[in-house]
Amino acid sequence: MLTNSFRELVKCRVREVFREPSAAFFVVAVPMLWMLILGFAFNKNGDYSYPIGILKEGSVFEQPIVIQNLIKASENDPHLKIFEGSTEELAHLFNRGTINLALAAKDGAIVFEFDPANREARESRLYVNDILQTGLGRSDFYKTIDQPRSRPGDRYIDFFIPGLLALSILTSSLFGTGMTIVAFRRNNLFKRFLATPISTYELFGSFIVGRFVILALEMTTILVFGWLVFDFHVAGSLLDYIIVSLVGTSAFTALAILMGSRLDNVGAYNGLVNLVTLPLMMLSGVFFSLTNFPDTLATVLRYFPLAALVDSLRQIALEGVSITALAPQLGVMVLVTVVCSVIGRAAFKWY
């Protein structure tokens, strides 16, 4: 496999990235930006809010006493953001997403209006209800203590960084490899290759191994930046972490080869990538845990290649799990690599 032609083809893959400033930007800068945005957005200790709307009826003194208490409490509660308005005004705020809960007094009761499928709205309802009830003298039967957890390994950013690495591997493989394949076909470069004794396996292999070099850059960026800015650590073996990433890169590069096997139109390929990446990103637990999905669906989703990669990286990074315990996830990724490579080669159009 390590023939001179293979080495030259791998060099080509690597040079393509380093000589294309925009490609290098997506490999290095974009993951750092994601980390900064999401890391700080979800890592602000205690800095959260409950935006609620209150149906305004006459002056504040005409409101029931419970609502007056709530408005008063909001003056000293940094988490409570109250918007008063008419039915139409509150509807408008709901539509904009400014509030996720609206309160109105009706027939001696408080009516909570919210979308029960919205987790944040449910939280707002519980928070506000607590204030209303305790303001009227309700006391808890048993003492509870809130203990904030923000040590390395427990934070959202620790959960997110392995997901980000997996996402980065997915997008850079699909865009980096697939777009190159489509552009080469369009430029007749594959046709020119076909007139030489080059082997298809070497050509395909160079795409996968070339991605490994890019992966080294992506991994280094994410892990070093995560460590410097968020004190992120891999609890398990770094070697296991690298091996899992390599297997994931192979799977998504093979998927890119398959997706680009017949197209010669960059626009069409872009559409195909969106079709594939969007469901993978939303349904693979990159941003939020798969436990948010119904159990049966979550069981199926775990076999998605991106979910398998995300899950493996998280288990190694957060729980220190050994690679030997990740055989099912690795099996999924190896299967994707083999199946996509075989079909991709059979379907491959040289020009």
């Binding site: 032609s5 080509c12 393509e16 294309e20 470069l189 046709k191 020119r192 076909l194 004794p197 080059i198």
Partner: protein, 320 residues
């Protein structure tokens, strides 16, 4: 591939269809060792389809193609290391330098020439460390030819190598092709430039609508289909007018060699084996019949005259 074959390339009854359209129609020709053979024809004649079948890039529907005595279909892997290919339209890695490009393609072959010598031979020394995106059209085409020569091939396929180049770059590339030929390599060249075929090729095959309509050296073709010289003349009226047609008819009854005269550039053109005699008889006859000649030109016949003679159409009007 060590054996010697007088005919390095043999094509026999080649047919290629695209759906219901026949692109190559029972084409037969051969290229001998050390020979430059040009497939000449207007755009759409089937030249590129033909050359790509011979390079093993496209499948044929009928016929036989043998290179070095072996069928390209069954022996592709064995033949490829010994042929050089320059495709009509290829965009190589634009971010690669000339030298890196050659290194890459050299790595695909079991044996290759010394890259520095190749760079010097193709006059690419000054730009060898420049990326392809920074090169001129002529320099890029030289790189394409360099890539085709990287494995020191016995047979080189050049598909319209000078299309789109400025006159100076074309002439430079012609010198290069002559140099390749002088190294006893065989060349199959496709071109739609008549002058290119005439200057570079030992033999020319004229292709029209997928068929080979004539074959031979430029001189042979001219002598066979035209006569050594061409006489162009113009009457007072344009050749398309009924008056001019009538005048021509009158002349033809007196001068049988004018029977095959064709319209060209507003006048008529006819070929003649002895030009001076033809002029004398034409002038005598027009005087006698009271026909006024406004222009007269005698020149050596060219491939364009051959094409006109064979197809009845001017070469420039023949793009299909």
């Amino acid at each position: 591939m060590g054996e010697t074959h007088e005919n390095l390339l043999n094509v026999d009854g080649l047919v290629k269809n695209y759906g219901k359209q026949r692109a190559v129609d029972h084409l037969s020709f051969s290229v001998n060792e050390g020979e430059c053979y040009a497939l000449l024809g207007p755009n759409g004649a089937g030249k590129t389809t033909t050359i790509e079948i011979l390079e093993g890039l496209q499948h044929r529907d009928e016929g036989r193609v043998s290179i070095f005595g072996k069928d390209i279909k069954q022996n592709r892997t064995e033949i490829l290391p010994h042929i050089g290919v320059q495709l009509q339209e290829t965009v190589l890695y634009q971010k690669y330098t000339v030298k890196e490009t050659l290194q890459l393609f050299a790595s695909f072959f079991p044996e290759h020439v010394d890259l520095d010598s190749l760079i010097a031979k193709l006059d690419l020394d000054d730009v060898k460390d420049k990326r392809l995106q920074k090169l001129s059209g002529g320099q890029r085409q030289r790189v394409n030819v360099a890539v085709a020569l990287i494995n020191s091939p016995k047979l080189v396929f050049l598909d319209e190598p000078t299309t789109g180049l400025d006159p100076q770059s074309r002439r430079n590339l012609w010198d290069l092709i002559k140099q390749i030929k002088s190294e006893n390599r065989s060349i199959l060249l496709t071109t739609h430039y008549l002058d290119e075929a005439e200057i570079l090729a030992d033999r020319i095959g004229i292709m029209v609508k997928g068929r080979l309509i004539a074959e031979g050296s430029a001189k042979e073709l001219v002598l066979k289909y035209c006569g050594a010289q061409a006489l162009w003349f113009h009457f007072k009226e344009d050749c398309g007018s009924s008056a001019a047609q009538e005048d021509l008819f009158k002349l033809q009854t007196e001068l049988p060699w004018l029977e095959k005269a064709k319209m060209k550039d507003g006048g008529f053109i006819a070929t003649a084996s002895v030009g001076v005699e033809a002029i004398q008889s034409l002038v005598r006859c027009t005087d006698k019949l009271g026909i006024k000649l406004t222009a007269l030109e005698l020149r050596d016949s060219t491939l364009e005259d051959v094409f006109l003679e064979l197809t009845g159409r001017s070469y420039n009007d023949a793009d299909q």
